[in-house]
Amino acid sequence: MSKAFVPTAAKPGVITANDLREGHNVWMCEDGWTADPARATLFEDEAIADLALLKAVGQSNIVVGPYLVEARRGPRGPEPTHFREAFRQRGPSNYFHGIQAAKQATAKQTEASNV
């Protein structure tokens, strides 16, 4: 679902897609793709974002259907501005599945390794 969104400093955006092999949601970050939306690169410039999107399209052996979408700067990283993206970053509301579950698993692991 490509949205003709143009990022600016006032209305920045992120690039997101699905992982080709696994299907889960991913975001473009400094070192490639991440399943943690808070680590996504925030684009404030149309030209830079377009170039990055082209690069993403070129990585079709890693991701499927990359698109640029609005995000806002939050204390811990980019945050969604639309509820659709908020759901993509969280997971479904009927079960504790998807990213919300992955996050909890990571948190538990970190906790365990800190003990």
Partner: protein, 552 residues
């Protein structure tokens, strides 16, 4: 032309192997996503909001215990332990990894199942009455014809690239439980002058332009079924619009060209096509009629059943709501609702699937059906076995006595899973069901069909709900439009929009006002919501949905 092809596991295996190499080529970069997408869709693989989704066909909703166990195995091994029954009698797995799907298809092939033509602009799963072969009001089992249509349409070379998807439904009962009027082609088995044939409907569909179908043939002799259906679809294949995907369904073709023009073209084509059918289809039909012969029903006493009904109030109320009248004395069809208050409509866990398989084997002549309202039916259970069946279902949380009631809601996956969604539908269904249980009005309200879709594609059949709810995105906020007066059964009707939409947290209060108003105005407890609506018109219901502000 048609040649007989029995359940062809070789073909299904071959298709699975083909898909495996397609996935390999996608992963190694030899296929781009643009090239791969149509290939995966031909095998029922979608990309949803959080993951891939695999839609598996359950032809005319009929499934054997072994097949059901295979679905359970897939749910556990490759998904998160559950699957989702759809309104088109299929099952969807919401979380498979692309790399696992070839294995899933191999597994399915081993029990004669597949995902072919569950997506794309092809002839989709042929659907029918979940009580086919069992219902008291049925005069002929439609499944041999459904199987004829399935085997003919599978891989039909001419119809792999239709202007749009194509859905056929068929019923052989008095009461239409297959939604004949809401399908591209609808077939009602009828008898005329001692001959068996069909009343043929064409051009029904929901989606963004909901339309009820029209009768294109009052009587089509059964021997002409395939030739005539082929004539309709080939006429549509040529004259259906390919310039605009929103105008590409046959309902628009029939509407724009007019039924008379369309019918004339079909009849001409039929005269040509008929010559190509040399009887192989009729031979196949005879084979299929044997395959769907009624099981060996038994004759036994039903006193124990009556005694348990008298003794156990919970059992009695379950038998009041969740049984469907059977054509054989002493038998009943059991509706196992996947609508427990607060649960996701249509979601079944692997354990629940296995239990159903066991119950079907032990008590149900090894027959299971997926119904279009996202429930499962054990079509043939002797009444003397009902107490045991009920006890087993109860243990698994599957004995909710709510078939046809407020909480028996059809809901599409909506924005919890679907990429096309404009709002969520599942939590709305969960909250409505829980609310009316909490306020204790569900039994009082009685028969009611609530249907919820998460966008105008209408997968949740909201137009056909007595109360329909359509989730929309209004300026970045979920908003829900309510339609009233739809009916998918006795008097097919498309619901009318009641007025402005409601924000997410106002939907339950609005439905609460609406149903309390109904309880006020109904003639008596036997007058259903839809009957009261038809008698009184929308005014009292709209007034309840949109009360005058007190200060005005």
């Amino acid at each position: 032309m048609f040649d007989v092809r029995p359940v062809d596991t070789d073909y299904v295996r071959h298709r699975a192997a083909q898909f495996r190499t397609q996935v390999e080529r996608r992963l190694d970069g030899s296929l781009t996503e643009d090239e791969f997408r149509p290939l995966r869709l031909m095998n029922g693989v979608y990309l949803q909001l959080h993951a891939y989704m695999l839609r598996v066909a359950i032809p005319y909703g009929t499934i054997s215990p072994d097949q059901m166990r295979m679905l359970a195995h897939l749910a556990e091994t490759y998904d998160k332990g559950y699957g989702h029954w759809t309104t088109r009698q299929n099952i969807q797995f919401n979380w498979p990894r692309l790399v696992d799907i070839p294995d899933m298809l191999d597994n399915l092939a081993s029990v004669g199942m597949h995902a072919i033509q569950t997506s794309g602009n092809t002839i989709r799963n042929v659907t029918t009455d979940a009580f086919a072969g069992a219902a008291a009001d049925e005069w002929m089992d439609p499944r041999p014809y459904a199987e004829l249509l399935r085997s003919w349409s599978t891989d039909h070379a001419e119809f792999q690239f239709l202007p749009r998807k194509f859905k056929i439904a068929i019923t052989g009962a008095q009461r239409d439980r297959a939604l004949v009027a809401a399908h591209d082609i609808g077939l009602r088995l009828i008898q005329k002058d001692g001959r068996t044939g069909f009343e043929v409907w064409v051009g029904g569909g929901l989606g963004r332009t909901p339309m009820l179908g029209k009768v294109i043939r009052d009587f089509l002799p059964e021997s002409d079924l395939l030739a005539y259906i082929e004539a309709i679809i080939s006429t549509y294949n040529l004259s259906g619009r390919r310039d605009n995907k929103y105008k590409a369904r046959i309902k628009i073709t029939v509407h724009e060209r007019g039924l008379d023009v369309f019918k004339a073209e079909v009849e001409e084509e039929f005269a040509n096509r008929r010559r190509d059918f040399h009887g192989a289809d009729r031979e196949a039909l005879a084979i299929f009629k044997d395959r769907f012969a009624a099981p060996a029903f038994r004759n036994a006493a039903t006193e124990a059943y009556e005694a348990e009904r008298a003794r156990n109030g919970a059992f009695r109320s379950w038998t009041d709501t969740n049984l469907h009248a059977h054509k054989i004395d002493g038998y009943a069809s059991v509706i196992v609702t996947f609508k427990t208050h607060g649960e996701t409509p249509g979601d079944a866990s692997a354990d629940q699937m296995r239990l159903l398989a066991d119950l079907a084997e032990q008590y149900g002549h090894a027959d299971l059906r997926i119904s279009h309202d996202q429930n499962v039916v054990l079509p043939h259970v002797h009444k003397s076995d009902l107490p045991a069946v009920y006890a087993a279902l109860q243990k698994a949380g599957l004995a909710t006595a709510n078939a046809g009631l407020t909480s028996d809601i059809i809901a599409c996956p909506g924005m919890d899973y679907c990429t096309l969604a404009t709002a969520r539908s599942i939590p709305i269904a969960q909250e409505i069901a829980t609310h009316f249980k909490d306020v204790g009005l569900e039994d009082e309200i009685g028969k009611l069909n609530i249907r919820i879709s998460g966008c105008i594609n209408a997968c949740g059949h909201h137009h056909l709900g007595h109360i329909g709810i359509l989730g929309l995105d209004r300026a970045g906020v979920e908003n829900y439009q309510i339609t009233l007066g739809g009916d998918g059964y006795d008097i097919p009707a498309i619901g009318e929009r009641a007025g402005a939409g409601f924000p997410y947290d106002q939907v339950v209060p609005a439905i609460d006002r609406l149903l309390r108003a109904y309880l006020e105005v109904r003639a008596d407890a036997s007058e259903r919501f839809i009957d009261a609506y038809r008698r009184l018109g929308p005014a009292p219901f709209k007034a309840a949905l949109y009360p005058e502000p007190a200060h005005a």
